[in-house]
């Protein structure tokens, strides 16, 4: 059974089809939640809420390929994460001047494993992490981010730059530690 059929059956209310969709997409969506929320338990709760909303509003969903399902579900999860962070007052982002744009250390990141990259992202402060995820990974523009988080566009840019700086710093620290371990 492919995703389009599962969606069709799930729209009719078939619990089996809904479970299949959950099994198929839950791992991927869990990773999305983990990037935004540090706690594993909170991520799980957000995942449940996201899937609940997905199935509740499935009748309004217009299937346009497997990618559209992924994109829609991802959007739901990101919104759930942002709602969670807002409810916890996790990020209070102060308005700041727009600094010069700092390039992302892609080369250094490519050398790392997936779990190391995830750990580096999770270790960032909440505000930095959120904007980094939204801009770099999800691909939202600063204008969209400013609208989503109700902040100034310049603030979004400055937060992103700070996130990148901190990421570089952490990468260097990791490199040094790795080099030390190798020398021993």
């Amino acid at each position: 059974m492919d995703i389009s059929e599962l969606i069709r059956e799930a729209k009719k209310g078939s619990a089996a089809a809904q479970k299949c969709l959950f099994d198929l997409l839950s791992d991927k969506m869990m990773l999305v939640c983990r990037r935004y929320v540090k706690s594993y338990e909170d991520s799980e709760e957000i995942l449940l809420d996201g899937f609940y909303k997905f199935f509740r509003n499935l009748s309004a969903f217009n299937y346009q390929g497997d990618g559209s399902v992924n994109a829609w579900l991802k959007k739901i999860m990101v919104n759930e994460c942002l709602m969670f962070l807002r409810s916890k007052h996790s990020f209070i982002i102060a308005t700041e001047q727009q600094p010069e744009e700092i390039p992302l250390p892609d080369d250094a990141l490519n050398k790392l494993s997936a779990s190391e990259i995830l750990n580096l992202i999770i270790e960032l402060p909440v505000g930095y992490r959120t904007i980094f995820n939204l801009h770099v990974i999800e691909g939202f523009t600063h204008k969209e981010i400013s609208r989503m988080l109700n902040i100034a566009e310049g603030t979004s840019k400055s937060q992103l730059n700070k996130a990148k700086l901190l990421l570089q710093k952490n990468l260097i620290k990791n490199d040094n530690e790795y080099a030390r371990q190798q020398s021993k």
């Binding site: 791992d27 990037r35 799980e44 449940l48 609940y52 199935f55 892609d106 990259i117 995830l118």
Partner: protein, 236 residues
């Protein structure tokens, strides 16, 4: 250029691949699914019904409070068989013929305000002295000075015969006067109302250990909504 982009996005692709994250994979999907399934098929609660109940309870409480605080009756009362002040004024009547019969004096006194009835006890105490000495005028004057409310009627009986005469001569009014009973302390006792009688007959009392709890009398002015607890040993 496309190769460079691919190399740049390589780590991003890794981040979205669940197979790269063995630690982050959900352990018990079935349990999670059960929770979602339960949430999806949970029947909506009847919140409206609870609101109805809450509104009904509030209404009952409001009505009860209004009933308790707006009534004007007293619960505790004692009926005294004969008003004491009638006896006290008898000697005055014998001395001064213009005051005439005790019935008239009773009428006069009963018209006076409830405050004047406190004089009854005082007069009662002074009665033997009044009989013995015979100096009724002086004593009455002293009594009158003690009793400002009774002054009008008493002065009329004792001192001013000119004012008394027309009162005595005047035909007794057929108007039905209100009879006020006094208790032993000399305080006016109100007649039991229908509400009080009903509460006396049908009131429910609970006993707790060595005390009796009386439910509040409906229509009592002194009733402040609190239960009255009296020890069983008390005479009341």
């Amino acid at each position: 250029m496309s190769m460079q982009d691919n190399s740049q996005n390589n780590w991003k692709i890794l981040l979205e691949d669940p197979q790269c994250f063995q630690d982050e994979i959900l352990n018990d999907k079935n349990e999670l699914w059960e929770r979602i399934h339960h949430k999806l098929h949970k029947k909506p609660q009847h919140k409206v019904l609870t609101w109805y109940w809450m509104a009904a309870c509030l209404l009952i409480i409001t009505i009860a409070l209004v009933a308790v605080f707006t009534t004007n009756e007293k619960k505790d009362y004692k009926v005294v068989s004969s008003p004491s002040f009638v006896k006290t004024l008898k000697p005055v009547g014998t001395q001064n013929s213009s005051i005439a019969t005790p019935k008239k004096s009773e009428n006069i006194l009963s018209q006076s305000t409830p405050k004047s009835h406190t004089a009854g006890s005082i007069e009662k105490n002074n009665l033997p002295e009044l009989k013995k000495s015979g100096e009724s005028k002086n004593i009455i004057d002293s009594i009158i000075s003690q009793l400002p409310q009774l002054a009008i009627t008493s002065t009329a009986t004792a001192n001013d015969s000119s004012t008394l005469k027309p009162m005595a001569i005047a035909p007794p009014s057929k108007k039905k006067l209100r009879v006020v009973h006094l208790n032993e302390i000399g305080q006016p006792v109100e007649e039991p109302t229908v509400n009080n009688r009903f509460a006396e007959k049908h009131g429910i009392g609970w006993r707790i250990i060595n005390a009796e709890i009386y439910n509040p009398v409906y229509g009592s002015s002194t009733n402040n909504g609190l239960l009255l607890i009296k020890p069983r040993t008390s005479s009341n």
